[in-house]
């Protein structure tokens, strides 16, 4: 069975619509979404309405969480003071724009999803603000997948898609108990992390939307890149009174979401 996994739509209905059309052409039977339906983009309500109408299983993203609970990421989450100020602007605009029933919908989104041997989270199993970057230490990456009791972990949050295979690894732990030392060792089967990129705010240097098609029979991962009329979204950003720089960054494939200097930093606030 082919499934599509999408993430980080960020209120960009134009991109979402183009991706849904591509998913249809790819003959995917099911769609999963790993959050960040809102933030930065001009059509948060339209995106949520579409997610709801298609009944797409969705887990909560950090931006969705902030709309429900208020801004609660620590300032370490932002790469700079400028990015933080712009992030706050985007949050405040979205907070005013969002319809009550959509806020309620976001509040009910689960932290993670499971489907057989597949797990779905926004950032990482430990935090929606944690970045699972492709160069993350293999031991840490393996721990993140193992903690979900799955073989394939789908995530988003970084806005740059990748598929990483963690080859079977031998882990040995020594536990000292009084005078005795207990050796615990096990061999982990092959695991994978698939970052599905971003539908509505790509950060791979091009404005095209990205998402993933996964074949559960062959385990094949297809990173899809979909061109769409991003200028329409840029115009809407400006017309809705969002900062024009968001439109410029979108057109250049430069997402401006939080990005910690230390990618292993986990927001504990």
């Amino acid at each position: 069975m082919k499934i599509a996994v999408i993430s980080c739509i960020h209120g960009n209905y134009e991109a979402f619509d183009a991706v849904l059309l591509d998913i249809d052409q790819q003959k995917a039977e099911k769609i999963f979404c790993v959050g960040d339906l809102v933030g930065y983009g001009p059509q948060p309500n339209a995106v949520i309405a579409q997610i709801r109408s298609l009944d797409i299983p969705t887990c909560v993203g950090c931006w969705d969480e902030d709309i429900v609970e208020g801004l609660n990421a620590c300032d370490c989450s932002y790469p700079s003071l400028l990015a933080e100020k712009r992030g706050i602007q985007a949050h405040e605009w979205t907070n005013k724009e969002i319809h009550p029933e959509n806020r309620e919908f976001l509040a009910k989104l689960p932290y993670s999803l499971k489907e057989g041997n597949l797990a779905f989270v926004h950032g990482s199993p430990h935090s929606n603000h944690e970045y699972l970057l492709p160069e993350l230490d293999a031991f840490v990456a393996l721990e993140r997948v193992l903690s979900t009791e799955s073989d394939v972990l789908f995530c988003g949050h970084t806005h740059v898609p990748y598929a990483r295979t963690l080859d079977a690894g031998h882990i040995q732990v020594s536990v000292a108990r009084g005078e005795k030392t207990q050796e615990i060792s096990f061999t982990s089967p092959l695991k994978r992390i698939v970052n599905v990129g971003s539908v509505g705010e790509p950060r791979h240097g091009r404005p095209n939307a990205t998402y993933v098609i996964y074949d559960t029979d062959t385990q094949e991962v297809k990173l899809r890149e979909v061109a769409y009329d991003h200028q329409k979204t840029c115009v809407a950003i400006i017309e809705k009174g969002l900062p024009a720089i968001f439109a410029w960054r979108l057109a250049h494939g430069l997402e401006y979401a939080e990005r910690a200097d230390d990618p292993t930093h986990v927001c504990t606030r």
């Binding site: 790469p79 700079s80 003071l81 400028l82 990015a83 100020k85 712009r86 024009a244 720089i245 410029w248 960054r249 250049h252 200097d261």
Partner: protein
């Protein structure tokens, strides 16, 4: 009294006038007998500050010191006047009246038959700049402000990739979190260089009592957004204090090792 050698250097924006002046200074043993003047920069004397940090003994004069500059000419061995592209070439004669001076134009290689060619005694091949006729100049002084360095990097990327208009030239001097003063330089069509740390002491006692500012040249500049974004990069009093304390502690630890 000997007559000083007066050199007036003019040319297109970003072609390398200040760089040329610096090259001349490096070949001079007694820069304390040299004076440098660059009129028309108002409250944003970026080139003057950059040159003064590299050649601390050089006598540098700002717009407000024109009378003093003219009085110092007879006492100098050599006088360098940098004439910005935004100034009328004809005004040089009015400034220097009956004095004799050498005219040098620093120009991009592909520029032909410009007013500079008619004016200059000597043409120096400069950087291959991409200036156009519809350019405007925007400046902002940011004295007393400390800029978050990561924000500066983002802002600079946006400026130099045309987020606020088609920029052909940008330069600035900024005080950053750890007390250093950074010089930023961009010329369209010329490979970008990293920010240059100016050779002056770190400022670690509150808001810096020294010059900082930004100059941008380009077409269709969104000046209001440029100003707002620059302001958004500035640290609060509390943040400045916090960073300065951290740096002082680190420097103290380093000194004790």
């Amino acid at each position: 009294m000997s007559v000083p050698n007066i050199i007036v250097v003019a040319g297109s924006s970003g072609a390398g006038k200040t760089t040329w002046v610096c090259q001349q200074m490096r070949d001079i043993a007694d820069v304390d007998k040299i004076i440098y003047y660059s009129p028309g920069t108002g409250t944003v004397p970026i080139d003057q500050n950059r040159i003064a940090t590299e050649f601390p003994d050089l006598q540098v004069f700002s717009d407000a010191q024109q009378v003093e500059f003219l009085n110092q000419i007879p006492k100098a061995n050599a006088v360098y006047i940098e004439w910005g592209f935004y100034l009328e070439l004809g005004a040089i004669a009015q400034l220097l009246e009956n004095l004799t001076y050498r005219t040098i134009a620093v120009l991009p290689p592909d520029l032909k038959d410009s007013e500079y060619h008619a004016w200059a005694k000597e043409i120096v091949r400069g950087a291959p700049t991409q200036s156009s006729t519809g350019e405007t100049l925007w400046r902002a002084a940011s004295n007393g402000q400390v800029i978050d360095e990561n924000s500066l990097e983002e802002f600079w990327y946006e400026i130099t990739h045309d987020a606020y208009g088609i920029v052909t030239r940008a330069k600035g001097i900024f005080d950053v979190n750890d007390g250093r003063s950074l010089y930023c330089d961009f010329v369209a069509g010329v490979p970008q260089t990293d920010f240059l740390e100016l050779d002056i002491p770190r400022y670690l006692e509150g808001r810096p009592q020294r010059f900082s500012g930004l100059e941008v040249v380009g077409e269709n500049l969104d000046k209001a957004t440029l100003r707002q974004t620059l302001s958004d990069c500035c640290l609060s009093d509390a943040a400045i204090l916090q960073y300065q304390q951290q740096v002082k502690e680190i420097l103290l630890e380093g000194a004790q090792v």
